[in-house]
Symmetry: C2
Subunit: 417 residues, 2 copies
């Protein structure tokens, strides 16, 4: 089964808004076995909306629109599409009552303006798609040949909720036996580049079991995504599982998780398993590593806190780094990183301490220690490890890569891998 998607809005055409709805729709539909034949974006112009939707309807017979359902005057979707179906607009008293109730419950109360009344007009014969997260209801319109248009709001939160609660179940109920499901599985690796991964995988480099393999490098590492198209989710998942097992057998501890697993969560779980607490000592990342760890709900059971030691004085006074070490090796050195890590353990009474010191740039680099030089150390239950890494990218990338590399060094220390 195929649909077309028409996203509506001057904001999209002018580039003020990046169309994240389109990608979300595509993923959700694909996982339900529904393909997108084409996607079209047009501005807030009734004639252009009508043209784009009519063409899509003629080609594919099934169209989802996003945008153009709000209270402001540029919202013209409903009447434009009603006209394609030869339907008039009619006032729906129930929608109007709901809008009034909703309005009254706002932080900024008052009477709903008459201009909002247009939200309560729907095409004759339309089915309402309830909006659990906002005011504008969605619309399902179908002709006697079974061709349909579903209109969703443009606000991502509202669109996502309505898609899951109302539209996907309705589409799935229509789907016949011929459906195919697109499913994917992602393995997350760290500490190895894209081409080295391909080298290491050898005959599996293009994918195991004829499953195409995509390499997706980012500041978090390189993700490996396997994709398959099958008759059912069960068949797809089985194939993906088998393919992932083949990759894992080669890659071992280079894989730290699947899907959207956050390396910080992996580290927190290892700390919990070892009944250990952690404290951080950050220079160039300035708190980013602490923020990563505490971004996970429930992290307070193993995260004590730490020191942001941006100035060298702070490295000495708050972490006990010796002046001699700073003088001999510099603030960006494995020696300093190691004293920061052991120092934060001592000062905070934690079993694990992790430190980062580096040159995030754009200034401050030298021939010996260019921008991107980062030293990381981990003290875990008395054992000390450290690395010096050359990070690539701009200041933000260098800092984010550093926090991720530090989490990985903790993971390796706690799993002895």
């Amino acid at each position: 089964m195929n649909v077309e998607v028409v996203t509506i809005g001057d904001e999209l055409l002018l580039g003020f808004t990046v169309d994240t709805n389109a990608a979300h729709l595509a993923r959700e539909l694909a996982s339900a076995g529904v393909g997108i034949a084409r996607r079209t974006t047009c501005g807030d112009d009734p004639a252009k909306i009508a043209d784009a939707v009519k063409e899509a309807l003629d080609r594919t017979g099934a169209v989802i629109t996003t945008g153009g359902l709000g209270p402001t005057s540029d919202d013209l979707t409903k009447p434009s599409i009603a006209a394609i179906f030869g339907r008039a607009m009619k006032f729906d008293a129930a929608i109007w009552e709901e809008l009034k109730v909703r309005w009254a419950s706002y932080r900024w109360p008052g009477t709903i303006p008459e201009s909002n009344k247009q939200q309560a007009f729907i095409p004759e014969g339309a089915v309402i798609l309830k909006n659990g997260h906002g005011s504008a209801p969605g619309i399902w319109l179908e002709d006697d040949r079974g061709r349909w248009v579903a209109m969703l709001p443009g606000v991502p939160r509202e669109m996502r909720g309505m898609l899951a609660d109302e539209l996907l179940p309705r589409i799935l109920a229509r789907a016949t036996g011929e459906k195919t499901v697109v499913a994917s599985l992602t393995l997350r690796t760290i500490g190895i580049g894209e081409s080295a991964l391909a080298d290491l995988l050898g005959p599996l480099a293009k994918g195991p079991k004829d499953l195409p393999l995509a390499y997706l490098p980012s500041v978090e590492g390189t993700d490996l995504r396997l994709t398959t198209r099958d008759s059912s989710s069960d068949v797809a998942l089985k194939k993906l599982r088998e393919g992932a097992a083949e990759l894992r057998a080669v890659l071992g501890p280079l894989v730290y998780g699947e899907g959207k697993t956050d390396l910080a969560s992996v580290v927190l779980d290892l700390l919990r398993a070892g009944k250990m607490k952690i404290a951080v000592a950050e220079s160039c990342t300035g708190g980013m590593l602490g923020a990563r760890l505490t971004a996970i709900a429930g992290s307070s059971d193993v995260v004590l806190g730490g020191v942001i030691a941006y100035a060298n004085d702070v490295k000495e006074s708050k972490l006990g780094v010796s002046a001699a070490t700073l003088l001999a090796h510099g603030a960006v050195s494995q020696e300093t990183a190691r004293e920061m890590a052991t120092g934060v353990c001592e000062k905070f009474g934690s079993e694990v301490g992790v430190s980062i010191t580096g040159i995030a740039g754009p200034g401050g680099g030298t021939a010996e220690k260019p921008v991107g030089t980062v030293c990381i150390a981990v003290s875990a239950a008395g054992a000390l490890s450290s690395v010096r890494v050359q990070m690539i990218g701009d200041r933000d990338e260098i800092r984010r890569r550093s926090a991720q590399a530090a989490l990985n060094l903790v993971r390796r220390a706690l799993t002895a891998s």
Copy 2:
């Protein structure tokens, strides 16, 4: 002048990739006075590419495509579009030589595979658009009626470079006198919601001087964007400046900057102007505020560092918060926040100290202190201020709003506004 954009790729249709190219293209074209009449996305299928491009060409006569120019087998754009123009593909020896040289300079050297040879085939009569950032050249194809298609690569870095260096100058050279420029100016506000802003602006709420005004709320505050369409950049900029001045006259210190100004930069500049240093004391944000300040290059001249005091013990031992205060008022209280702010000044010897303590959720809320309760304090040159705020959103949003609110409290303390 109008063009249509066709973005090509299964990755886009399947939702694995968010189409950031589309927004970038739109903004760049708009600022050059070129409008986008419609945008279409299709998969890597020669027939579908040809259909979408031919329809766009028939409607608008000017088409930009992105994607489908790489070395892999799913790259079918060039022959599909050549066929629309009735052109054959021909081998270009110069392109092939360049590809070979480029390949030899890679980190992972070797001989270029024969399969890459297809990148050196171009349609007869095509003009090459040079690629300064990658291997695949772009293509400009034009018929005797002046209708044209420009093919750009899909990799954002390559697309952006080629657009700026090659395509925009070519399009501008064709544009006649009727060009209009779309320009915008954004004022950044914080500490006031969207509807309260509209209230405050009164007769200006829909925009000054007939310039439409958009309200763009985010975790950083509410941005106000004025947009205009004029005959030249100079005229547009003058109108925007006058409109912004009218808004500023009403909003005063609620406006902290323009464009993409980062509130952290504003704070750093105020610290520099006052010859003051800052230290942070963070509980629920876990380092995020420190990371915000140190994200700005050159921040080390005023940022000393700080303490991530996630555990209550750390608030006592590293910041000198009294056990009595914690017992009487709790860790999330203005009293604790104030002792954290003064404590970090004392411990770090800084003129300014800023603290955050709150309940980021999803757990930990009570009737009296629900999730989102955040207390912030600033000690600046001996004067102490604090607020208790009820933040909305999920854990990540609450933390990000808290860091931004803390920066704003520092700004207000340093400007006495």
